[in-house]
């Protein structure tokens, strides 16, 4: 069935290190993937997205990698800062004729140690 999952529910890194958050998906028909960040007490915020015709996309300090062969998605955060501490969700966009519904993974809690 369809599912979007994250490999680890928690990740702890030292400030300044690089972070890698992983996500596995099972729907080979998905064509668009999104990473969100949710800070405590707030709604999720868009970080970066990637379409299925790409395998890498870079933003400011973040990179998303997509491996369609093994249905794997990762978010890399360079030089992790305390402000990066949050829950990170991947979302898989399921082909839909209207509203662009997404299926969300459970989230990985990133803690940055000073």
């Amino acid at each position: 069935g369809e599912s979007v999952g994250l490999h680890l529910p928690t990740l702890s890194v030292q400030e300044g290190d690089n972070s890698i958050i992983n996500c596995a998906y099972s729907n080979s028909a998905s064509d668009y993937f999104i990473w969100y960040k949710q800070e405590s007490g707030k709604g999720p915020q868009f970080i970066i997205d990637i379409r299925s015709n790409m395998d890498k996309r870079q933003g400011q300090r973040v990179t998303v990698l997509l491996n369609k062969t093994v249905k794997h998605l990762s978010l890399q955060i360079a030089a992790t800062q305390p402000g990066d501490s949050a829950v990170y969700f991947c979302a898989e966009n399921i082909e839909d004729h209207n509203a662009g519904k997404s299926t969300f993974g459970d989230g990985t809690t990133l803690t940055v140690k000073p």
Binding site: G41, G43, P44, N93, N98, A99, K101, D106
Partner: protein, 112 residues
């Protein structure tokens, strides 16, 4: 910047009450969504709407209804609140052709 606002940050209601959660977005987005977020269960879609007066059931619509009379406003209604509807409720919107969603700050609902 896109702004999605929700009428309340915290709400306490009693079992059996009718509850209205309001969501307003200011970017003329066609698509709007209601989710609930529970520990260990992630974000689950309750209802979504892709146009005024249009609505579609999500994964967990039971016990909920929605209303979209104006493009900018999407309301979630709990017809008769129950304790198992205690949760964080998140509203989101997105324009057509862009599937990333913009979320509101959430309403934490406690049903006693």
């Amino acid at each position: 910047d896109v702004k999605v606002t929700q009428s309340s940050r915290y709400l306490v209601k009693r079992t059996g009450e009718k509850v209205f959660l309001e969501c307003v977005q200011d970017m003329d987005h066609e698509n709007m969504f209601w989710y609930r977020q529970d520990p260990g269960l992630g974000l689950r879609l309750i209802y979504f709407s892709y146009d005024v007066k249009m609505k579609e059931k999500g994964d967990i619509p039971e016990g909920y209804s929605v209303s979209r009379e104006k493009k900018e406003r999407f309301s979630l209604i709990l017809e008769s609140a129950s304790t198992n509807q205690t949760s964080m409720y998140l509203c989101a919107s997105s324009p057509p052709g862009r599937r990333a969603q913009y979320f509101g700050p959430g309403t934490r609902l406690l049903v006693l």
